[in-house]
Amino acid sequence: MSWFDPPHVPAPAHDDPDRSVTYAISPVYIERNAAVVRRTPVFQVWTHLVGALPPIPGIQTLARRRVTPTLTTLHDAVACFRGLARPLNGERRGESTLIYVLNPAVSIAYEPAMTCVARAVTVPPNTVLTVQVQPIETLPVDSHMVSGTVTRLEYVFSDSAESALPDSYQTRYLEKMWQRP
């Protein structure tokens, strides 16, 4: 499997965190990042959504280091929101978009090097990872087994009062679907 072709990923359903669903990774997200040769977001898809280091040459070197990227899937999400509160294609408030929140301690980024072109990055304090998903109702996907498409990953600043969640989560999203204690 190519590092530029990540597999579908498991996730808790937005309406029931105890039910598991499957999401595809947006081909647009992968292809547009490839168009500018931006590797870091794809490495982060593997590490934080697939739950494995990207299958690139020399990755064992990174896996053997003292600090290694935190492997997670969306089942490690601490919260799920719905609605981006901004225009998104036909939606004035991005109402259908789901946002999962993860709290990995160490992430991954591209770094030009001889042995391995990925490096571990300790996630700065007050920073959380958000993952945007378009559910199947609003985007065509290639399989009836897939419930939606992951369209973006973004590290964002965390909320000053609730550091596991994104800054101003009360107003930047329309609805909280669930939050784990």
Binding site: F4, S26, N33, A35, R86, F157
Partner: protein, 138 residues
């Protein structure tokens, strides 16, 4: 040099990052990031997000959200008038400023964020080209 579209996964690992603006159709945003590295996104408002490095001190880029709405309401006439191949993102940021209007003058933090994004777009001569503009102008 091999064209990007023909590169395989191995060649993409070794290729040089091409810092240019990119439109993501399914999240409807244009993004410009200076380097292929770890970044943190700071939401300014419903249209603009700033992109910082891991020290949170260096501005690495910006993201214009709801870009199809901005293009259709503000930019399409300008684009068609000049028959351009590229869209200057300073023009796009100015269009958003016009759209959000007076609220910017009352909010200094937001105004500073827009100024920072415009300065970066101007200094780095950030332009958008490609499929989005061809499809949108059709």
């Amino acid at each position: 040099m091999t064209p990007l579209a023909q590169m395989d996964a191995g060649q993409l690992l070794a290729a040089r990052y091409n810092s240019t603006a990119v439109y993501f159709s399914d999240s409807d945003c244009v993004e410009y990031v200076k380097e292929d590295t770890f970044t943190i996104y700071e939401r300014v408002d419903e249209f603009l997000t700033l992109v910082w490095d891991d020290t949170k001190l260096t501005l690495m880029g910006f993201k214009l959200k709801g870009f199809r709405y901005i293009f259709e309401t503000q930019l399409k006439p300008i684009f068609e008038l000049h028959d351009e191949q590229f869209l200057d993102l300073v023009t796009a940021l100015e269009a958003v400023c016009k759209d959000v209007g007076a609220t910017l003058t009352a909010d200094h933090k937001r105004a500073r964020a827009y100024k920072a994004a415009m300065k970066l777009a101007a200094n780095d001569n950030v332009k958008l080209s490609g499929d989005f503009l061809m499809n949108a102008a059709a």
